[in-house]
């Protein structure tokens, strides 16, 4: 039994503002925070990620003006929704004419519908802080049997010191609809700021959602994301998560598959340098039969960086004929870098095909030597091999504009050409 003089969570949210006439989602979240504590490394889910660096600080909500030009995706025709420090900035956003789509404030989300859809998802202290103290975000709905003319870009920028960005989004894909969501995260002179994001979604029958997430924040901020998705029968969901940003990143991604004939795909690349800590936690829960899921995450860690991968796949007793594939591969470029990889399969059905694998190693010295004997410098040989290693995952980013942005980012920040 631990007795604490004061509740750290309450202290953490003390300075944060929330409207007194807020939605029930807000109120319930605030209520749920009562009596909660921040996770320690004794909690299995947080065994490898210490959040003390975040939770010992106090943050402020700050609505400011910013220049976002350099964070836009060049050449990409998209609906652009801009959030600066978690506040929706209408003047910077551009939502185009598109009859398939409605974009509203997150506060306009039907609360009963939301409660019903998200019933099964598991909250944590950070998602609750987000929901209780959110400062903006959008509720996106794609109409039945519609395909959006353009992808939707949720552009997040955190700027200024000690800021907490609590943006909350919800996307609903009605039956038979299709869209692509691009979520980008950047920061500018935002030392010790904290991006605490929640994105939730409901992919209805026969609908198809692709998400491209680019987490490119600077290495002096914190980033925790909670992404929850519910899939109805015959729906498709794919997410590519590219993480190079922040001092401490925790990408929490949970998908509950609530219907037959669904496909779920998660791909991730994480590149760590300096003292970065990059944590990817994923969960796919199969409740019904005849579904497939595929998960490929690859990490390259340099300097003193740490990578964490925890991928859980649960197959419930009535979910037969599930094919679940999971793999995690890591390359350590330095002696001081580390990776904690933990694939977990929990299978309660008997007729399933599941496989998982995890590897962590160094670049093959013999291969580097071989390349060098052909006139390629050691540095370039390593780059070629790293590129080959993560290229397999990058090739799953099937949007050429996004791919270009990723390639450019890697070139600028790592000198890596892919």
């Amino acid at each position: 039994m631990e007795i604490t003089a004061e509740n750290k969570v309450l202290k953490f949210v003390e300075g944060l503002i929330t409207p007194s006439n807020g939605t029930s989602i807000r109120k319930e979240a605030i209520q749920a925070l009562n009596g909660m504590d921040f996770p320690t490394t004794r909690v299995e889910e947080w065994k490898y990620t210490r959040v003390g660096r975040i939770t010992n600080k106090s943050f402020r909500q700050a609505e400011v003006k910013a220049n976002i030009d350099q964070y836009k995706l060049k050449n990409l025709d998209a609906h652009v929704v801009v959030l600066v420090n978690g506040y929706y900035d209408e003047s910077l956003s551009s939502i185009r004419e598109d009859k398939s789509l409605t974009v509203a404030s997150i506060d306009d989300l039907n609360q009963e519908y939301y409660a019903e859809i998200m019933e099964e998802t598991e909250e944590n202290v950070f998602s609750l802080i987000n929901k209780g103290y959110q400062t903006g975000g959008v509720y996106i709905k794609v109409g039945e049997n519609e395909k959006t003319t353009y992808p939707i870009h949720l552009l997040h920028l955190t700027t200024g010191e000690g800021v907490i960005s609590n943006a909350q989004h919800f996307i609903q894909l009605e039956k038979g609809s299709k869209t692509e969501l691009i979520t980008t995260y950047d920061s500018d002179e935002a030392e010790n700021s904290f991006t605490n994001i929640v994105i939730e979604g409901h992919i209805e029958e026969n609908a198809n959602l692709t998400i491209q997430k680019l987490q490119f924040e600077e290495k002096n901020v914190f980033h925790i994301s909670n992404e929850f998705f519910v899939q109805d029968p015959s729906s498709q969901f794919k997410i590519n998560t590219i993480t190079t940003g922040s001092l401490l990143t925790r990408n929490g991604l949970n998908v509950i598959v609530e219907g037959e004939n669904c496909h779920t795909e998660m791909n991730g690349v994480y590149l760590g340098t300096e003292n970065q800590h990059l944590d990817n936690h994923t969960l796919i829960e199969h409740l019904y039969s005849n579904c497939t899921s595929s998960e490929t995450y690859k990490g390259v860690m340099d300097d003193k960086s740490t990578g964490v991968f925890n991928g859980k796949v649960i197959v419930r007793p009535n979910a037969q004929k599930i094919e679940a594939y999971q793999s995690n591969g890591n390359i350590l470029l330095s002696k001081s870098s580390t990776v904690n990889s933990k694939p977990e399969l929990e299978i309660y059905a008997d007729d399933v095909r599941c496989s998982h694998g995890s590897t962590t190693g160094q670049l093959d010295e013999d291969a580097i030597y071989y390349l060098r004997t052909r006139g390629i410098s050691e540095q370039k040989a390593k780059k070629l091999m790293v590129a080959a290693f993560i290229g397999e995952v990058l090739d799953k980013v099937n949007n050429s504009d996004i791919r270009k942005k990723v390639d450019q980012h890697f070139l600028e920040h790592f000198g890596w050409v892919f």
Binding site: A367, Y369, L371, T373, R374, G375, S377, A387
Partner: protein, 251 residues
């Protein structure tokens, strides 16, 4: 072109001496065969010339085209024109043959202060070089050596040699694992690449490759030294009498 004088080299942390005073002189246009029993130091010689980690030269010198080869990094030796065809070519998943060769050629050209090769010229060279060793052009676009058969790997080595056009090629046990057809293809490839300006060192245990690539000189490497040198007929004599004959002769 290449002058090796009194070369002593050790391997590993224990510093086990493998090369014990090796001398060799190679001139442009020549083909030298280095033969010898297992453990004589043949592959060590190849590794020392290419600059592999883990080998230490304790005495002697290697001068290549007027430069101290031992002072150069592995990649710079390649840029100066030294090429090693591996006994066991390395598989590199995800790195395509084409991408890798383009990088190599352009790094070499940059070193020699030449313009990068144009895409069209590069592709023409790929076609020409793969035809030389009857390598399926599809293999050229696959990952380096990944899933290649033993023969394909060896042909890929000669394909790379054709692409890089080195001054000095060291073929380390290139005949091992080759069937009679592949042996002929690889040998024909090497013969076509020979000219008065380049040279080849063939390291081999057996004489059979030398039926196809006729050497100007044959050297016998035993216990870290060249113990006998002679014309191409020496290879036949070795094949007939075995390496023990030399030991007997020495005594």
């Amino acid at each position: 072109m290449l002058t090796i004088k009194n070369l002593h080299a050790t391997v590993g942390e224990e510093g086990l001496e493998i090369l014990k005073g090796l001398n060799l002189e190679v001139k442009p246009g020549e083909v030298h065969a280095i033969m010898g029993p297992n453990g004589a130091g043949k592959s060590t010689l190849a590794s020392v010339l290419a600059g592999k980690d883990g080998y230490e030269v304790t005495e002697g010198s290697v001068v290549f085209e007027g430069k101290d080869l031992l002072e150069l990094e592995t990649e710079d030796r390649a840029k100066e024109g030294v090429f090693l065809a591996f006994q066991y070519p390395v598989e590199i998943p995800g790195v395509s043959n084409i991408n890798f060769l383009k990088t190599a050629i352009n790094e070499i050209r940059e070193y020699r202060k030449q313009e990068p090769l144009k895409a069209k010229e590069f592709m023409a060279k790929v076609r020409e070089s793969s035809a030389l060793v009857e390598l399926d052009p599809k293999l050229a676009s696959r990952s380096v050596n990944e899933g290649f058969s033993g023969g394909e790997k060896k042909r890929n080595e000669i394909f790379q040699m054709a692409m890089l056009q080195p001054k000095l090629s060291i073929l380390d046990e290139t005949d091992s694992g080759l069937d009679i057809d592949a042996l002929r293809i690889v040998s024909d490839g090497v013969n076509k690449l020979r000219n008065e300006n380049n040279a080849v060192i063939i390291i081999t245990h057996y004489q059979r490759l030398l039926d196809h690539i006729i050497p100007d000189f044959v050297h016998v490497l035993a216990d870290g030294k060249i113990v006998k040198s002679g014309p191409k007929e020496l290879a036949l004599e070795l094949e007939e009498k075995g390496y023990d004959w030399l030991n007997a002769e020495k005594v």
